[in-house]
């Protein structure tokens, strides 16, 4: 029985149970995981297959939608030749600095604002106003103030990533069960102990929602920032490849961005699982 055979046979489970030979455990496991895998990624695989076929068969214009193998080889080529490495590095640096700054400022500020009603009430209208103003609309202002260099790019990303973190932290702190705080008080917990042992851990899941939103926003804003006045970066490469009609390279850069986004999200999910083990069904 070959590998493909087991996987493609619909009645594999049935034949496994009744088959005269015991299937190796690895194949049996694979067999059990296959339906779940297909349910999750089947549509993506179909889409990719359709893309490939449409492009090679000429159903769509292959110079606008090049076949996947061309895109992948463009990605591979630019990665192995090191052509894109500088761009990746500078892009990661820009969004990384901005994201870290947003975390370092947003979480503590949110924790304070969530607890101190007076500060929150005073700052809330201003925050709501800023939040409703698109960071992209403010980008020209930032360029005016900070110049066309790195600072304005990092700042616009920081600005856009700050709000999801700040607002979800405030929300998390405000939604802490007051009954738990009362319980802690009866056991002699002071303000600091209540903060450290009740408010902070209770806010962690909400903070992570903000972190994940912000990570996505950071990459979105990165591209926009790099399309204006940059000569390096993944966003610049997308624009540049399009100007020079290197369409496979353009898609390769877009693909790279998507992969970076997935990677950032995966890292955060992993961290969240580690920190919020108590909130998971099968912890």
């Amino acid at each position: 029985m070959s590998y493909e055979n087991v996987n493609s046979t619909l009645g594999a489970d049935f034949s496994l149970a009744n088959g005269p030979r015991a299937t190796p455990a690895v194949l049996a496991r694979l067999n059990a995981l296959l339906p779940a895998f297909l349910a999750r990624y089947g549509l993506v695989l179909t889409f990719l297959a359709l893309w490939q076929v449409s492009s090679t068969q000429g159903w769509v214009n292959p110079s606008v939608f090049p076949p996947l193998d061309l895109i992948l080889s463009a990605l591979w080529g630019s990665l192995t030749s090191g052509a894109l490495l500088d761009d990746i590095a500078i892009s990661l640096q820009r969004s990384g600095i901005a994201f870290v700054a947003a975390v370092v400022i947003g979480i503590p500020l949110g924790l304070v604002m969530g607890q101190a009603r007076v500060i929150e009430q005073a700052l809330d209208p201003l925050l709501q106003f800023f939040r409703q103003t698109s960071a992209l609309a403010l980008y020209p202002v930032f360029i005016l103030l900070l110049g066309l260099g790195e600072t304005s790019k990092v700042f616009v990303i920081f600005w856009a990533t700050l709000f999801p973190i700040l607002l979800s932290t405030i929300g998390g702190v405000k939604e802490v069960d007051t009954k738990l705080i009362e319980m802690a008080r009866t056991y002699g917990a002071g303000r600091l102990a209540i903060f450290r042992r009740v408010v902070l851990p209770a806010s962690v899941p909400a903070i992570f929602v903000g972190l994940r939103l912000s990570a996505t926003t950071a990459l979105l804003l990165l591209i926009a920032a790099e399309m204006i006045g940059a000569n390096k970066g993944i966003g610049f490469q997308v624009m540049n490849a399009q100007y020079n009609f290197q369409i496979p390279l353009m898609f390769a850069a877009i693909l790279l961005l998507a992969l970076l986004g997935l990677l950032a999200n995966a890292v955060l999910v992993l961290l969240q699982r580690k920190l919020c083990r108590w909130a998971q069904p099968n912890a």
Partner: protein
């Protein structure tokens, strides 16, 4: 005030306690001139119709609310606010979802201080054992049933070894079967712990089953609260004639018979 300290441990005196809330701009009296002496090691149940102020009385005793008038004395000393000689068990278990059962039980020991982390865990382990959850020491609250979670709450309160345990309808949210088994368990636990217990409940049978005396708070604020002595050996038999007689007596008091 010259009595030896050991005879005073966990003794509560309530003097002229009054409390009103404001409802639509008018004062609504909840407690008026409550006087009571609770003996050391006694188990007192407070019953009353809703609105009789039983939970308010308990919250004042716990230091979570303040009285308008009157005072509470513990072991002869007037108390204000919360204190390490008291522990509260609420209707909801109020466990911290991010802590394991063991760490939840050790919570009060951690926050009140005075014992090392190690010692706190050791003592917590004893109380987890006492409430029969040793197999769930490292489980998280979301993995527990309602009855188990409440047992963790009870263990947490006992672990700080209070002189006075204040219980606010602790079994009110449990199903009938779990409730009865928890009542039996409480009887067993209290026999071994040297603690004064003050229990607010709306379950008359629970009051008769658990308490030495029952305080009945009237709905009318000018009527005086009544006290009933339950002098039955433990564990109590719910179907014994004396038990049934006490039940009828209480039902009559509430005009339900």
């Amino acid at each position: 005030m010259s009595l030896a300290p050991q005879t005073l441990r966990g003794e509560v005196t309530i003097r002229h306690l009054s409390k009103s809330f404001t409802l639509n701009g008018r004062p609504l009296p909840v407690l008026s001139d409550v006087n009571l002496q609770i003996r050391s090691g006694e188990s007192l149940a407070i019953v009353g119709a809703s609105g009789s102020g039983k939970t308010t009385l308990l919250r004042i005793l716990a230091g979570l609310d303040t009285a308008d008038n009157g005072e509470v004395l513990i072991d002869g000393k007037a108390v204000k606010g919360m204190g390490a000689e008291r522990a509260v068990i609420f209707q909801e278990p109020r466990l911290l979802p991010w802590l394991t059962v063991l760490d939840n039980v050790a919570f009060g020991l951690d926050t009140r201080g005075g014992v090392s982390r190690e010692e706190a865990r050791n003592r917590a382990r004893r109380y987890v054992h006492l409430v029969g959850l040793q197999a769930f020491e490292s489980a998280y609250p979301r993995q527990l049933s309602g009855g188990m979670a409440q047992r963790v709450g009870i263990a947490r309160a006992l672990a700080v070894q209070p002189e006075i345990l204040l219980l606010d309808e602790p079994l009110g949210a449990l199903d009938a079967m779990t409730k009865i088994s928890m009542q039996q368990e409480l009887t067993r636990i209290w026999r071994d712990e040297d603690v004064t217990t003050i229990l607010v409940t709306h379950d008359l049978e629970e009051a008769i089953y658990l308490a030495d005396r029952i305080l009945i708070l009237p709905r009318e604020k000018n009527a005086a609260p009544r006290l009933i002595e339950i002098d039955l050996p433990r564990p109590r038999d719910r179907s014994s004639p004396q038990f049934v007689r006490h039940r009828e007596e209480l039902l009559n008091l509430f005009g339900l018979h």
